[in-house]
Chain length 686, copies 2
């Protein structure tokens, strides 16, 4: 069918828009020499991290590509093995390219935002938001173009459905390095720099005398920009892939028009076209983000929201038109809509639980009055409680989508949720750019009114980051579920056998549920370990380089960057291997039913744990900020000290372990989907 | 069959042994006037709490009894409704009686332990351990006698299988009040007394000038003795009930000898007889707990372990003999054994993760060197990591038990795990007795060598309490699972329909998984709220009663007890109602399949969350103690301060929220089992 060209056109349009944004950004003023110098140091560190990460990643991808190629080659024939291996490598390359471009622009936008903020808040917002938008638009455009190419190349291959999951696996491989490695890096740099700088030496945050400060800025980019981008690239393509795999269900359920063959093509094309509509909607959404001449905090937030809400609204219209003109069952539209709405609501509920505009976070600030213990307990309880709305929204979306379009509907609800990713990711990647800009302003000694402006931008970024995290988790949960459902199709599991009364399934479910828990423990510990190397190095520099404290000598920033990079990438190996190997072990040892239970257990608990950790961390952070703006004694009070402890605890929760779980549950599901052909008819080793 | 008499005899033997222990204890020296006075205050407070709790409980039980009576009366006939209602009330009475006797003796043993410790450590151990043993033995004896009476009365009733679950429901009702209400009480009293006494006024722990100190002692008894007892009473009878409900499975699977009718009787009797064997083994185990004339810490622990290990070994032999002589399939023995071994191993792994003899807890002490944030992160990560062994042990037990005896095997593995409860609960309930004794010694101003002895006993108690908690969680998880399986039988759910591909089941699973998370948030918040009333009251007394600090006037202990009692019982209403009502809502609105998913989701996540919270809390507690015995700077150092913060955070984790989840998952399962007859053939409201 020629409609696939619509997806290609949307992707190309997106790329053209990205080029437009990049040209706009690069033409902006780079600011004072000092700003350029700092920004250059951040660029150097971030690119060094990405370079090292991609080198290890390349080995990882090649090993897996060879392994899969051989397996599928033996199972079918050599050509099929090569196709699967190609799909994997191609997926990894697409994700890596999106991450590279997006981060590369973000690290150029930070200094330019600092310079723009010297002029006005509005200028600052425009530069930083467009800096983030490049990542958002690149992710969706490259994602859809990559999938379109695969579709062109292989959609007539009878084993097409075995080839596309490998694309997702490749993307997941990048994601686990970017999100887990990046997450460990960013928080250990942050923790190390803070502990030695603020606590031991008593110098302010972002002080240029701190050897860890550049590593900290680099962390924002490699963790929050590149990591988040890779995470959502994975969700984006995985949700489309899962839907395509479930096409047969749509055909059997009579949701598609025409003869079986034609119906299947329609079922394959639908998620791609909805995603394509989402790209157009996102571009329009990005354009709508602008504020008037008298910008205040409320206006800034309204501006960003206008972009995402408008995009959601447009996507809903596009989805209806696509479903209507493709003559498919209207139920599919309702499924898409249910996912879309659930995504927006999850973002809003995250905002409620983590913004200091609302009661929950303020209650944590209040609890800080009685010391750090009550701060920790109330923040953690808030994180736990915040799982209520997202679970209900996702459960409702599942029920509605299934009601209208069977399990194909559940998968396409995920596509609906992620369709506006171009603009939601833009509002999300904007945060670290603004954060970096604030740090650069501080380090460059620019006047306080400039810092005030970047602080306003940063504060807004925190709000959008929280919403973005909620959205990332929600979409990861729905995507992992869709992949699990797709897995049962490829593994040809009998619906009736996948029963909760099967002991292996139950055992698998318990083990699967345990894995995100263990994984979180490992990533938290990894942050502490990596931070300890940083701490040693920063202390060493303060001790050995005498002129640092007087400002006469520059600390060796690059060494800290290097140490954190090596340690973080080393620390991610064990959690990474566990993630890739455990579904394989469960599938081959306990059998495909156990693996089904395993995936649902991991998805359910991973979803809950990720929300808890992200929102507990987010609310501690903002509870501290609420005190800092002058409540409960303000900065320096005992309540503030208690809140700082909460914030520090929350850092690895919200920026390392929580988001890493997203990758983990999707990666385990996609690994299962990829190995599913080998599990057909198997019942494990016993 | 007349073999039921063996269960009755074992129960009677247990009660006789309890009487022997009680007579022994009451004949002990009650100590100095001061000891008597304090002990009397604790007794008064604890009994006041229990009295008030039982009054509310009575209303709760009566309302539910009437409700169930009417429902079953309408569904079948009036007589059946009355039988179900009777079973419920009877279950509640049995549990309440066991809790009342056990706690009543524990609060008399505390002063006597203090007095005995004046003579020797050995005397102190004997009195405190026997004080705890009364609870252990009463729980199992009353449990088995209660079930035997029900069996005698109704085993020829064709609806017997609808009547016995109500007994478990009654027991669960008591448990939720005792464990949740008691848990909130004990930690808020602890927190309140510590925050005002230690932090604000700078007076030592257990200082008689602190108005909250008696409330704190009372808390140990109502939470850790009565609460733990009710929790395990519930697990104990529920595991037997679940096995009985699954008897038809055993018959169909050909595990039982004789004609279907006879085979079913055998399948009903088996769990009762294994439990009976466990009572005899426990009595012998209790006798084996004794130390020589030169008692040290190691010897004390060995003494306790000798008791539990010997009992486990004996139960294994008894189980083999019972299965053999009843001519049942030997596979049932293997199922029992798998549960028994899993229980022991879970206890040991808990010990590894929480005792300061091992690396994990010492690593938390070390992390305290870098402040409270790292203490919290490393302790929490340790709690998360500690879920690995229990999940693997439970999963292995499930697979083995199912392999040998189908899903009847999974249920009877739970019976096996709980069979030695008489002695394991004894070692557990011993802890709070020793803890109270230590406090009494402190308040009575007895010489330091006496305090050293009670400290040794208390420290041992902490170890056994951790092991006991692990055991309680493990058995709760397995019991809840068995109840879920039993539920699917009574609700007559088609195995094939209970498929993971059912959207309602998936939605139910996500919602079920969320509930223990929300529940934990509510119980944690409840502790903070209740503690705030306590804090106000203690502050008021320090302010208004001038002679307190000089020791001229006694604080009004009873007022604090009263305030905490009222607040704690009020705070448990919402979590309690959520627990009872949510399975009913899910079952009737989304249908029986969704409820199946709901239960497995709740059980899996509840199990993991309970272990995480209990072990994180336990390891923070012991990390603090490891510093206090002279490591990393010892008492008063910065590391110690950080560790104290960890300990305070861990208190509601390990003593309120964690253990409460046990009750919650069992209660939701038993509610589902009880309402199952009404769900037959239903598909919810939509």
């Amino acid at each position: 069918m020629d409609l696939i060209w619509l997806a290609v056109i949307a992707g190309a349009l997106g790329l053209a828009f990205a080029v437009f944004l990049i040209r706009y950004l690069l033409s902006r003023d780079q600011g004072t020499d000092k700003i350029r110098e700092i920004s250059a140091a951040i660029q150097e560190g971030a690119l060094a991290f990405l370079g090292r990460e991609y080198r290890i990643l390349a080995i990882f991808v090649i090993v897996i590509a060879i392994g899969l190629g051989v397996l599928f080659g033996v199972h079918e024939d050599l050509a099929h093995g090569l196709r699967v291996a190609f799909s994997l490598v191609f997926g990894a390359l697409c994700s890596a390219a999106a991450g590279y471009i997006g981060m590369n622009i973000a690290i150029r936008a930070n200094g330019r935002t600092a310079a723009a903020a010297q002029k006005s808040l509005n200028e600052g917002l425009r530069v930083s938001f467009r800096g983030g938008a490049v990542m958002g638009i690149c992710v969706v455009s490259i994602g859809i173009l990559g999938l379109s190419i695969l579709y062109f190349a292989f959609h007539n291959d009878p084993l097409f459905i075995q080839i596309i999951p490998a694309f997702g696996f490749g993307a997941s491989g990048v994601a686990i390095f970017a999100r887990v490695g990046g997450g460990i890096y960013t928080k250990s740099a942050d923790l190390g720099a803070d502990l030695v700088g603020k606590v031991e030496q008593g110098i302010p945050e972002d002080d240029p005398r701190n050897a860890g400060v550049i590593a900290d800025f680099v962390g924002d980019n490699v963790g929050d920009v590149a990591g988040m981008g890779a995470d959502l690239f994975e969700s984006y393509v995985d949700s489309i892939i899962a839907t395509m795999v479930l096409a047969t269900i749509a055909v059997t359920a009579g949701l598609m028009p025409g003869a079986p063959d034609e119906a299947q093509q329609t079922a394959w094309l639908l998620p791609m076209l909805i995603a394509a509509g989402g790209i157009v909607a996102s571009i329009i959404g990005v354009f709508l983000v602008r504020v008037g001449e008298k910008p205040e905090m409320g206006a800034l937030l309204t501006a960003l929201r206008r972009g995402t809400f408008a995009a959601s609204f447009l996507v809903a219209i596009f989805a209806f038109l696509i479903v209507y003109f493709m003559d498919s069952d209207l139920g599919i539209f309702w499924a898409v809509l249910s996912g879309l709405i659930a995504g927006v609501l999850i973002g809003e509920s995250t905002n409620y639980f983590t913004s200091y505009e609302y009661r929950p976070t303020r209650a944590i600030s209040e609890a800080s009055l009685t010391g750090p213990s009550t701060t920790i307990i109330s923040g953690f309880a808030n994180g736990l409680l915040s799982t209520l709305p997202p679970v209900l929204f996702v459960a409702a979306a599942i029920l509605v989508a299934h009601h209208f379009a069977d399990i194909y509907g559940i998968a396409i609800a995920g596509v609906g949720m992620l369709s506006t990713l171009g603009v939601t990711l833009a509002t999300d990647a904007y945060g670290p750019v603004a954060d970096n800009a604030g740090g650069i302003v501080e380090m460059s000694g620019l006047p306080p009114e400039v810092r005030e402006r970047t602080d306003a931008l940063d504060s807004l970024g925190n709000t959008t980051a929280a919403t973005g995290k909620g959205f990332a988790i929600g979409s990861a949960g729905l995507t992992a579920l869709a992949l699990m459902l797709a897995y049962t199709q490829i593994a040809e599991i009998d619906v009736a056998k996948l029963s909760l009364l099967d002991a292996r399934l139950i055992a698998g479910l318990f083990i699967g549920a345990m894995l995100p828990v263990i994984f979180s423990a490992l990533t938290m510990t990894a942050v502490s370990k990596t931070a300890s190397y940083m701490i040693e190095e920063i202390r060493r520099q303060f001790r050995e380089i005498k002129g640092i404290m007087t400002g006469e000598e520059r600390p060796e920033y690059a060494r800290c960057v290097d140490i954190a990079t090596k340690a973080a990438l080393k620390q991610m190996i064990v959690p990474g291997l566990i993630t890739v190997l455990s579904p394989i072990a469960i599938g081959f040892i306990l059998g495909p039913l156990a693996l089904g239970g395993f995936l649902i257990g991991a998805t359910a608990i991973g979803f809950l744990l990720a929300i808890t950790l992200a929102n507990a961390g987010g609310s501690w952070d903002n509870a501290k900020k609420w005190i800092e703006v002058g409540n409960y004694g303000g900065k320096g009070s005992d309540a503030h000290k208690a809140a700082v402890i909460g914030d520090t605890v929350g850092d690895p929760f919200k920026d390392t372990s929580g988001p890493s779980i997203n990758i983990m549950i999707k990666l385990m599901s996609i690994v299962s989907l990829v190995i599913a052909p080998f599990l057909v008819g198997s019942s494990g080793l016993f």
